[in-house]
């Protein structure tokens, strides 16, 4: 990972060096070319100037030459002495005899024009030589030979070159600075990209990618120092509701607060990451015992249980945590993550808001669950599902008032499967919608048959799952099913658990109203085990309360349970509701309930749940 982080800057450095170098080479070439051009320009200028000088001289000196007046000729030639480049000048007559020269000491072999390759001038490394005819009235009367030094030319060229090089160095310096700045922004962008690739933008925590890297690193370290590590996987139990109710912004805010809380509960060396959605992962280093991990998980569950305040709302978020250990539970990162996931899943299945440490047996359970899930998909069409009915009796009159329909699955592969085992699977997979539909249909069809010959009509109660209740059109669907079966709405009672009703009262109150208007009865199941808001209870259009079987069980012996049951019955009656007791198994319980004024009882004392085929016989026996 370190190497990966180092590589990009190296590349940019190399690139910067290469571009500086190529810019430098290009500048050097340009300078060289400019100097060459300047050299030829200067040389031409010198040649032109010298030609003009020498031709003016030739014109002036013609008379002196014709009169062979050396003194006058020298005087004329002397005028050229002001030229700093002058090496020497010689005046020859038409016999090539020297008449005059400047400076006095100048001696030089006068070349033939031919030597100049048919031109009147010749450049050597240090000198310019010019041969110019001296004419009068179109007759050549002699020749001027001029030699000029290139010293000044080279001096000028040198200054030019220095200036060009100085300009180039400044340009290169500026370019390097600009390049450095550009490189800096590229580096910044690279860092940003690296950041984006490794950081979750919502919480600022490491993302899945970074987590995998860190887990690999932690495992290497763990191997090196023989220090086991633990990995925790968090999944929020009800995050979707927050998002659905308050919007994604609030959801993001919740995730941020949550991340902070988890991070606070960790030690400095530990790592936390958001793997996506509402899934968080933690790496705990140097964890030696399961107890230690368990304590940390306990702490996590507790810290998350406190409400989160978002805007003016208090939110309760619970998490299911799975923990797995390296090297005890897994030999590599991938397996470790998978096992932590399995443990987390077990935590969810065991009622959420809790944690599970990974056990090898969990994988077997998972397999079992997968197998169940596969079978459940075809259970309906294979006719493996059926309804059993448990009768409900009126305490006062001892007469039967109705049945509660209970779903049974007799799988061809798994045999009888408990609803506790397959209902959660049906909920998770969404099969519950189809199954729930079938349950209502079947119950309505059965009650229709049984009520046909009865003067006093019975009612049938079915349980609605949380998933079904979330469906906004459930009230419409119930109405359709009632119409199809031609069953009066008041024959149907829908049971909802207390926690289901209270979890999201706002969202469901409308559904309850619409069911109530049709005439469908609504019962709150398992009453007393959840948290009911009395103000909502008053406003909800419910018709009955069902006392949970846990209060009924010890009714005859436990004063607390008696008190609770009494309170529930009093509360129900004061709200005008029918109170039903579940799990009535003994005469003592029945007597106590009757004494408390409970309206209806249901339990083994009267009858176990019986198959639909046995109901007519049962009714015949009880009248």
């Amino acid at each position: 990972m370190k190497n990966k982080a180092k590589n990009p800057p190296e590349i940019t450095h190399k690139l910067a060096f290469a571009s500086t170098l190529s810019a430098g080479v290009a500048l050097l070439l340009t300078i060289a070319l400019l100097i060459v051009i300047e050299f030829f320009a200067l040389r031409n200028a010198l040649l032109e100037d010298s030609r003009i000088e020498v031709s003016i001289l030739a014109d002036n000196v013609s008379a002196a030459l014709m009169f062979q007046d050396g003194a006058a000729a020298n005087e004329i030639l002397r005028s050229l002495n002001v030229s700093p480049d002058l090496v020497g000048i010689v005046l020859l007559d038409d016999q090539r005899v020297t008449l005059a020269k400047q400076p006095d000491g100048f001696t030089r072999q006068i070349p033939e024009v031919k030597r100049f390759a048919q031109t009147d001038y010749h450049f050597s490394l240090t000198r310019l030589e010019i041969l110019s005819p001296v004419s009068y009235k179109n007759n050549q009367v002699g020749t001027l030979y001029l030699v000029k030094s290139l010293k000044t030319l080279f001096k000028r060229l040198g200054i030019y070159a220095l200036a060009a090089i100085a300009a180039a160095i400044i340009a290169l310096f500026v370019a390097v600075r600009l390049l450095a700045r550009a490189r800096q922004s590229v580096q910044l962008a690279e860092q940003n990209l690296h950041h984006l690739a490794h950081i979750d933008p919502v919480t600022g925590l490491a993302n899945r990618h970074a987590f995998n890297e860190r887990l690999g690193f932690a495992i290497e370290e763990s191997q090196q120092f023989s220090e086991p590590l633990a990995m925790l996987l968090f999944d929020l139990d009800n995050f979707k509701q927050v998002n659905d109710t308050l919007g994604h912004q609030a959801g993001d805010e919740l995730l941020r607060m949550l991340a902070q809380r988890i991070a606070k509960a960790l030690r400095r060396d530990d790592t936390i990451a958001r793997l996506g959605g509402d899934e968080f992962a933690v790496i705990l280093k140097k964890i030696t015992t399961s107890d230690e991990a368990g304590q940390i998980c306990d702490k996590m569950v507790a810290t998350l249980a406190k409400p989160f305040q978002i805007g003016s709302y208090d939110f309760f978020v619970t998490a299911s945590i799975g923990a797995a250990f390296y090297p005890k539970d897994a030999g590599d990162g991938t397996t470790l993550i998978r096992n932590a996931d399995t443990a987390m899943y077990q935590a969810k299945v065991s009622g959420k808001n809790t944690f599970r440490l990974f056990l090898p047996v969990m994988n077997a359970k998972i397999k079992q669950r997968h197998s169940l899930e596969t079978s459940l998909h075809t259970a309906l069409e294979k006719g493996e599902l059926s309804l059993h009915y448990q009768p409900q009796f009126d305490f006062k009159h001892g007469s039967i008032v109705g049945f509660e329909g209970l779903l049974r699955w007799n799988s061809s592969i798994h045999g009888h499967v408990s609803p506790d085992n397959f209902i959660p699977i049906a909920e998770d997979t969404g099969l519950i919608v189809e199954i729930g539909d079938w349950v209502i249909k079947q119950a309505l069809s059965d009650i229709q048959k049984w009520n046909q010959l009865r003067p006093v009509k019975l009612q049938v109660a079915v349980n609605l799952s949380a998933r079904q209740l979330r469906d906004k059109d459930i009230a419409v669907r119930v109405a359709e099913l009632l119409a199809e079966a031609a069953v009066p709405a008041e024959w149907l009672e829908i049971e909802l658990t207390e926690s289901m009703v209270m979890e999201n009262v706002h969202a469901h109150i409308d559904t309850f109203q619409r069911l109530k208007i049709q005439g469908v009865k609504l019962a709150i199941d398992d009453f007393g085990t959840g948290y009911s808001s009395m103000s909502y209870l008053k406003r909800l259009p419910i018709t009955s309360l069902k006392i949970d079987r846990s209060f009924v069980r010890d009714l005859a012996t436990d004063k607390n349970d008696l008190a609770i049951s009494a309170a529930i019955i009093a509360l129900g009656h004061s709200l005008g509701l029918t109170v039903i007791a579940e799990g009535v198994e003994t005469e003592d319980q029945a007597n106590a309930l009757f004494a408390l004024g409970c309206d209806v009882g249901q339990g083994y004392l009267y009858s176990r749940p019986i198959p639909a085929e046995a109901v007519p016989q049962f009714l015949a026996n009880y009248g």
Binding site: N60, S62, A63, A64, L65, M66, F67, Q68, D69, A72, D93, D94, Q95, V97, Y136, K137, N139, Q140, V141
Partner: protein
């Protein structure tokens, strides 16, 4: 082709003088209608050494004309374009002088004593070298002009 009329110092004095005379002609500008004939007539006393030396410039061209040598004794002075007077010509010259006073004739004296303002160019030997004095004032009177190049070479300009 040798255009210079002489070959350096080796030439005898009169040959040099003849060459000088040819050069003087070249550096002299006559007024527009000053040269009437098709030849440029140089008049000198026939029979002198200079006259013989002047033969060398006959046939050369200047001012688009061929140079012809005429005898001062037999030619009317008004036909001359160049008039050369030597010591032996003092008498003859005094006769001619009034006739040509207002004519554009280049008058050259080879006699240092005849310098007295009348001659436009006077040739003299100074320090064994041939030098000359130019009287450009006299020349201007008859609208003749000398090239500045010539004036620069003169020992003296009046």
């Amino acid at each position: 082709m040798t255009t210079c009329a002489f070959s350096a110092q080796k030439a005898p004095e009169h040959d040099l003088k003849a060459a000088y005379i040819y050069n003087f002609i070249q550096f002299t500008e006559w007024p527009e209608d000053g040269l009437k004939s098709s030849t440029l007539n140089v008049c000198a006393s026939a029979g002198t050494v200079l006259y013989v030396a002047l033969q060398a410039i006959v046939g050369k061209t200047s001012h688009n004309r061929t140079i012809a040598l005429k005898s001062l004794q037999t030619t009317p002075a008004t036909d001359c374009n160049v008039l050369i007077a030597e010591k032996s010509d003092r008498e003859l010259y005094s006769q001619i002088r009034p006739k040509i006073a207002n004519l554009p004739i280049l008058t050259i004296s080879d006699d240092a004593e005849l310098t007295t303002g009348d001659f436009m160019i006077t040739i003299a030997i100074l320090n064994e070298r041939i030098r000359f004095v130019i009287n450009s004032t006299r020349a201007l009177e008859v609208k003749m002009v000398f090239s500045s190049r010539l004036l620069r070479l003169a020992a003296k300009v009046l």
